[in-house]
């Protein structure tokens, strides 16, 4: 797998190179957007890690340019932690983002996730099948027949309750359910003050499904109202995965 690292900070590029090489990836290095585009034109690249603020050509412009020709997954490295910047990046075609300062572990996890999705969806998407018992939100897949849940193709083991909650939420993507409502629908019972249980289960689910549980991309908390599964457009290679 070839990964292109693009950041104007050479030390960061060097560090990322080491990490990715130890994981077994081949790496290319670029120090601004222009260089990145040049390398992308020359080499076959499976994933692009790119900083936003760079000299000569910034990450957003480079990505906009890139998206005209390529669907290669892009993970933005950004120092700007504002929500709006993330949304902008995702809308312009980034697949994921990592905010600086990041921990290498998190970055590696995201890289892995994107690459897996890219290869599965891009290459052999059909092996999952277009079964109606198949539910998919972002990188989370659920096969209700087999009772299996996978994140980026990797199976995840869930308790029966967690599975039921997840299935219910995935069946109704984009809808917000209050803890009471969730309890009633999943447990089929009246909660009588058992709302806390729902919250705890959701947290466990998030820890199993999300790379950074405190900043969930799919299984979201709508504070003061309930929980929801993010509604994504039909999974397509290179599509904005979340908003």
């Amino acid at each position: 797998m070839n990964i292109l690292i693009c950041d104007d900070e050479r030390d960061i590029v060097a560090a990322l190179e080491i990490y990715l090489r130890t994981e077994g990836y081949t790496t290319f290095c670029a120090y601004n957007g222009r260089e990145a585009l040049d390398i992308l034109a020359r080499e076959e690249v499976h994933l692009l890690l790119m900083d936003i603020m760079m000299p000569v050509m910034d990450g957003i412009s480079a990505m906009t340019e890139l998206r005209k020709t390529s669907n290669v997954p892009v993970i933005l490295l950004t120092a700007k932690s504002e929500e709006t910047d993330m949304v902008l990046g995702l809308n312009l075609g980034a697949d994921d983002y990592v905010t600086k300062p990041f921990r290498p572990v998190e970055l590696l996890a995201r890289v892995r996730s994107q690459l897996r999705r890219f290869t599965r969806l891009g290459g052999t998407a059909s092996d999952i099948g277009s079964d109606d018992t198949l539910l998919q939100v972002g990188n989370i897949c659920m096969n209700d027949k087999k009772k299996v849940v996978s994140v980026d193709g990797e199976p995840v083991s869930l308790t029966p309750t967690e599975y039921d909650i997840l299935r219910f939420l995935m069946q109704h993507p984009g809808e917000v359910f209050s803890p009471k409502e969730l309890y009633r629908r999943v447990w089929g019972d009246n909660p009588f003050g058992a709302e806390n249980t729902v919250a705890v289960h959701i947290r466990h689910l998030r820890e199993k499904l999300e790379i950074t549980p405190s900043e969930p991309r799919f299984l979201k908390v709508v504070w003061g109202q309930g929980y929801k599964m993010e509604q994504t457009a039909t999974p397509k290679k290179g599509d904005a995965s979340a908003q």
Partner: protein, 659 residues
């Protein structure tokens, strides 16, 4: 309270006894002093202090004799006829019947009379040649008519010599001798008792109103009676007493003497009490306040105030508003019209008015035009000022149309608006600059920090021989993470406190929110050995808030709880609703001693010294507060010993909760 009263009681009673004793002694001394002084005056009148005993005795005899003779004759006449019917002729008639009566009187009034008319003709005589002890002459007027006629009787009276112990003159002799001997002692008694009385009186005034163990004087029940009512009662009482005394002195009637003496006995304590009450009132400054007159005037004043605020003021205000609402040019025109009309009316009565009226008309027109022009300029200046007040800094007053001082003033106003717009621009630029600066600086710090964190991680993957190196690396790792957190907090606090944060308010059900938040923290609470106790007094509390920001507030507060609460304690979360506001109360017991004021915890970077070396930036509470305020809520801290309380208050959202 009970205890102090029971402790005070004996003191009070001794104090009261002393007071009562003083009062009693005061009364006694007053009576003695009055009696002796009156006696001394009476004695002086009879010459006790100037003449010999014989002379004094003679004086007394004369006085007594005269009084007795006159009284006897008058009473005799009154016996034989009705004194109201006594006319000139009657007296002539009754003269003949008087002798028998006079003789009868002698049995009681130890005096013998020879009565003669103004011509020297003896009408009657009871003198039968008895041994004379004392004799004298006097006269009484029986009738004095409008026709300048009068009936006068001359009396030659004789006090016969008496056997020992027989009549009043013998007693009088003894008494005289006694009194004459003691006449100077009487002065001394009078003087001393008077002086003593004065001292006691002063003491009484001093202690009036005071009570043991109390610094300030206070009013008793009696002192609450209005002062003027009290004075009136005393005045009436005193008036009747004086009238009675005057009558007593006039007639020495024994029937009247007894009640008079009793009245004096009653009166002397009463007058002392009166003086004491007066003193108490002065001490408490209610002498004039506690009068019916004062109450009456106060009532009238209240009525006047009410009339003023409820009737006159609104009318005046409306009138004033109407006048103030008029443009300045109109006002000037109105005033000019009124003045001109007055002048015109005055001129109308001047005899040779035609020429004068013409001059006046010209003058008035010129004057009016000039004044109206100035008023117009004034109006423009005013409009300019109003625009400034409203914040319209681009409004410029046209200086070209102004004259003289008006132009200067217009220029000044224009300069002010320029100055202000400069300042505002400057301020906005610096505000913008500050936000930019923080955002840029934080970005610049983030990049090297990322590098540091990455390389520390890389180093940790290297195999080191030395155990120490591993330990050092762990420290570096921990501290770099801490630095990261600190920087994120700093950025957030700057954004939150400058309000540079997009807020997406949505209906937020607090009970749902609480269960969600507690669900997030359940494991961490368990790990810290804390048990949360959730108490929702009013379910379905809906507020309008940005859920994500509110979660950040809770995250900060709950992570504080997990970090700083004493293990094995309970953490209380209360949700209440009152007066259209929802209040969330966090209570926990602190692990460490909280030795700083609550406010200091909110100040950025200030934390209890004990907790300085733990993880975290110390900005948590500050961020929570700023975010809460951004969403229109309030956050307040309270430290009560080890009990740490945070309360969040938000206004309730009226709309129905959206599911």
């Amino acid at each position: 309270m009970k205890e102090s009263v029971s402790r005070k009681h004996p003191v009070l009673s001794t104090y009261g006894m002393v007071k009562g004793l003083c009062l009693f002694l005061g009364c006694l001394l007053l009576i003695v002093a009055l009696f002796s002084i009156t006696s001394v005056i009476l004695l002086a009148e009879f010459g006790f202090y100037t003449g010999t005993f014989e002379a004094t005795q003679k004086e007394v005899y004369t006085h007594m004799g005269k009084t007795m003779a006159e009284q006897t004759l008058r009473e005799s006449y009154e016996k034989v006829c009705d004194p109201s019917d006594l006319t000139f002729q009657d007296i002539e008639l009754y003269d003949r019947r008087i002798n028998a009566e006079l003789l009868r009187q002698f049995s009681t009034k130890n005096v013998l009379l020879t009565v003669s008319d103004s011509g020297g003709f003896i009408i009657s005589s009871t003198y039968r040649g008895e041994a004379v002890q004392y004799e004298g002459e006097t006269s009484i007027v029986l009738y004095e008519g409008p026709d300048n006629k009068r009936v006068e009787r001359f009396i030659h009276f004789i006090i016969p010599a008496e056997k020992e112990g027989a009549g009043i003159f013998y007693v009088l002799d003894l008494w005289l001798a006694q009194v004459y001997g003691q006449r100077f002692a009487l002065i001394a008694i009078g003087f001393i008792s008077f002086v003593l009385f004065c001292i006691l009186f002063a003491v009484l005034l001093r202690i009036a109103g005071h009570h043991p163990d109390e610094k300030e004087a206070r009013l008793s029940v009696f002192d609450h009676m209005p002062t003027d009512v009290m004075i009136a009662l005393y005045a009436v009482f005193t008036y009747f007493l004086i009238r009675l005394l005057l009558r007593v002195f006039e007639s020495w009637d024994p029937v009247l003497i007894v009640p008079a003496a009793l009245l004096i006995l009653v009166f002397s304590p009463l007058i002392l009490l009166f003086c004491m009450s007066f003193a108490t009132r002065c001490k408490c400054r209610v002498l004039l306040k506690n009068t019916l007159l004062f109450y009456f005037l106060k009532g009238i004043w209240r009525v006047l105030c009410w009339i003023w605020t409820h009737a006159l003021c609104p009318v005046g205000r409306t009138f004033h508003q109407v006048i103030a609402g008029l443009p300045i040019v109109w006002k000037t025109a109105m005033i000019l019209f009124v003045i001109s009309f007055g002048e015109f009316m005055a001129l109308w009565f001047v005899p040779t008015r035609t020429k004068l009226l013409l001059y006046w008309l010209i003058e008035s027109i010129v004057f009016a035009v000039a004044l109206l022009f100035f008023a117009l300029l004034m109006h423009r200046l005013k409009a300019g000022g109003e625009a400034l007040v409203k914040g319209d800094l681009n409004h410029k007053i046209d200086e070209k149309q102004m004259v003289g001082d008006f132009r200067t003033h217009a220029r000044h106003l224009n300069n002010i608006s320029q100055g202000i717009s400069h300042a505002v621009e400057e301020r906005m630029r610096s505000e913008h600059f500050r936000t930019e600066l923080i955002s840029n600086v934080s970005h610049d710090i983030k990049t090297p920090l990322t590098t540091i964190i990455s390389y520390i991680n890389l180093l940790q993957q290297e195999k080191f021989e030395s155990e120490a190196a591993k330990k050092y690396l762990d420290t570096l790792d921990r501290q770099s993470i801490r630095l990261k957190k600190l920087m994120e907090d700093l950025l957030e606090v700057s954004k939150a406190s400058t309000g540079n944060l997009a807020i997406l308010p949505a209906a937020c059900e607090l009970d749902v929110f609480l269960s969600q938040a507690l669900g997030e923290y359940e494991d961490r609470m368990e790990k810290a050995n804390l048990s949360p106790v959730l108490h929702i007094a009013s379910p379905s509390c809906v507020i309008l808030a940005d859920g994500q920001l509110l979660w950040r507030v809770f995250d900060n507060l709950l992570s504080n709880v997990v970090k700083y609460a004493a293990p094995g304690t309970r953490v209380y979360l209360d949700l209440t609703q009152q007066n259209g506001r929802a209040t969330l109360l966090f209570r926990n017991i602190s692990k460490e001693e909280l030795n700083i004021p609550a406010q200091d915890l909110l100040e950025r970077f200030v934390r209890g010294d004990r907790s300085r070396h733990t993880e975290g930036s110390g900005l948590g509470l500050s961020i929570a507060q700023s975010l809460t305020e951004l969403m229109g809520g309030e956050l307040s801290l309270d430290i009560d010993g080890d009990l740490f309380k945070v309360s969040l208050t938000f206004p309730l959202h009226d709309a129905e909760p959206s599911a």
